[in-house]
Symmetry: C2
Subunit: 303 residues, 2 copies
């Protein structure tokens, strides 16, 4: 019933439905004074970290600690990946205010099964760094990821393009970056103090813009834990690339779900942990685009 009503009021043949949104990105870094090992006063930039309390129809859901660059997409993505709300068309508006440190989501018709949803969440609190786990596993196994291949030559250009992102990281460190990519192109790059927030913001953006995952690559500076593999599979993205390592459970999930998993991807190096049959080895590592300076990046890895 809800579906029909919403479709009636908001459906449009050419443009995806879009809730009313604020655009309340925060300044991501702050200058602070420090004393270095020479006892010299210096000014450095540090990453912002602000609480953002999420309300749905005036009901408090969660407080997220975030860099705050994409708060509306983060709120949407959180609701999507936690399965609080299944259809973007059910959302009327997202209003972020940093004065009150709140993201207020209002729906057209309320959310069905509130108490069940809050209870499920309670049972899994803290798991996988704050993400619902067991209750999403069932729905995950219904995910069917398309087979998608990635060429080594494309990966090398993509890694070169990504090297130019990570703005906050370069200035202040202490953040992770996630990128939604198609081939060598980066459609959206989000940095946040938690990699789960950056991933959720990308999920929210995809939801809002009705972007399919099948032809995309998800890049992250962070480790490939079970949590991140789950989120990426939920987005329907078949290829996952990370600058960092993998955990055992992250790998097992990737194997079960058929996610192509490429890790330790930096400069010309990478390791394929799952789905090597989907990787087209069409470039020699030494033919990859040259970085300025050393070929292999020794820059700080987000922590």
């Amino acid at each position: 019933m809800i579906t029909d009503l919403v479709t009636q009021t908001s459906s449009n043949e050419t443009e995806p439905y879009r809730p009313q949104l604020t655009h309340s990105g925060l300044a991501p870094t702050h200058p602070v004074s420090v004393v270095d090992e020479q006892r010299v006063d210096r000014e450095v930039q540090i990453a912002g970290e602000s609480p953002l309390t999420l309300y749905v129809d005036d009901r408090e859901i969660v407080t997220l600690m975030t860099l705050g660059s994409h708060p509306e997409a983060l709120a949407l993505g959180y609701l999507r990946t936690q399965h609080f709300i299944e259809r973007i068309e059910d959302i009327r508006s997202v209003q972020v205010s940093w004065d009150t440190e709140s993201a207020r989501v209002s729906t057209w018709r309320g959310v069905e099964g509130w108490d069940d949803k809050l209870k499920r969440r309670t049972l899994t609190t803290g798991c996988g760094q704050g993400t619902v786990f067991s209750c999403t596993l069932d729905s995950l196994y219904s995910v069917r990821l398309p087979k998608a291949s990635i060429a080594q030559s494309t990966l090398y250009v993509l890694l070169e393009n990504i090297r130019r992102q990570n703005d906050v990281y370069k200035r202040a460190g202490a953040v992770h970056g996630c990128g939604l990519c198609r081939g060598e192109d980066i459609l959206l790059f989000v940095e946040d103090v938690g990699r789960h927030n950056a991933a959720d913001a990308i999920a929210g953006y995809m939801w809002l813009e009705q972007i399919p995952g099948a032809d995309k690559i998800f890049y992250t500076t962070g480790r490939l834990t079970s949590e991140i593999v789950m989120k990426v599979a939920q987005m329907g993205i078949p290829v996952l690339v990370s600058r960092s390592g993998v955990t055992h459970m992250g790998l097992e999930l990737a194997q079960e779900l058929g996610v192509t998993m490429i890790s330790r991807a930096k400069g010309r190096h990478f390791l394929v942990f799952n789905g090597s049959e989907c990787v087209l080895f069409d470039a020699k590592p030494e033919d990859a685009p040259r970085h300025k300076g050393t070929g292999i990046m020794h820059s700080r890895i987000p922590d």
Copy 2:
């Protein structure tokens, strides 16, 4: 009443009270086959990541994703830092079984105010990467940290000693390490897939062994976010050292609570973000102990 009874049954003048514990540490790494950028098959080690569901008196509390090296201390530390149980003497036993992926804590007399505690947790789920936030802030501001100084010469030797730890990290990456230190000595070093778990395991160990925090240093490979500063302050530790960066809110909390905060501490380099008056600049950076190879570590930073 509970206090009196427990003191009666378990108090001992010379040894701290100790619940019955299993000792169920898991093998931390697993060999897996990968394909590298040369299309060569290789075997690498990856970090374990196992779910561990925590029950208190048969009531399910949370599922933690952990490397599993110190599961009993992790369970205890989680209950302590989340303020589920305030006194170690109230705990009868901690039984970890990897067959059932469970940590079963039983108390002598039950836990008071269950429903309140579970509800508070619900309101803050996911915040600061899975940690209760707002409900611990009130109790935090009653924390009075002692003034403690740290000498640059001690810090350099400590950093050199820590370089020899991080076993799992060196083999597999994808984990964070936290160390409980006194001067240049490392009393306990715990690695885990989440830095909050490693910190909780140290909190649990301190609780179990009745170790005071006042003369300790807390080291972490991870970022200094608000969450970590809170945990360390809860442990009563006045000096926090990190190999990584800080966030704005982590710094603000350190300032409010009087935590000496030293960040980007690697080799001979460090930045004092708070409490530089507590740092004794008694060593020249160039006099620090020499590492083999380059003076400054270019090794991978945990991600």
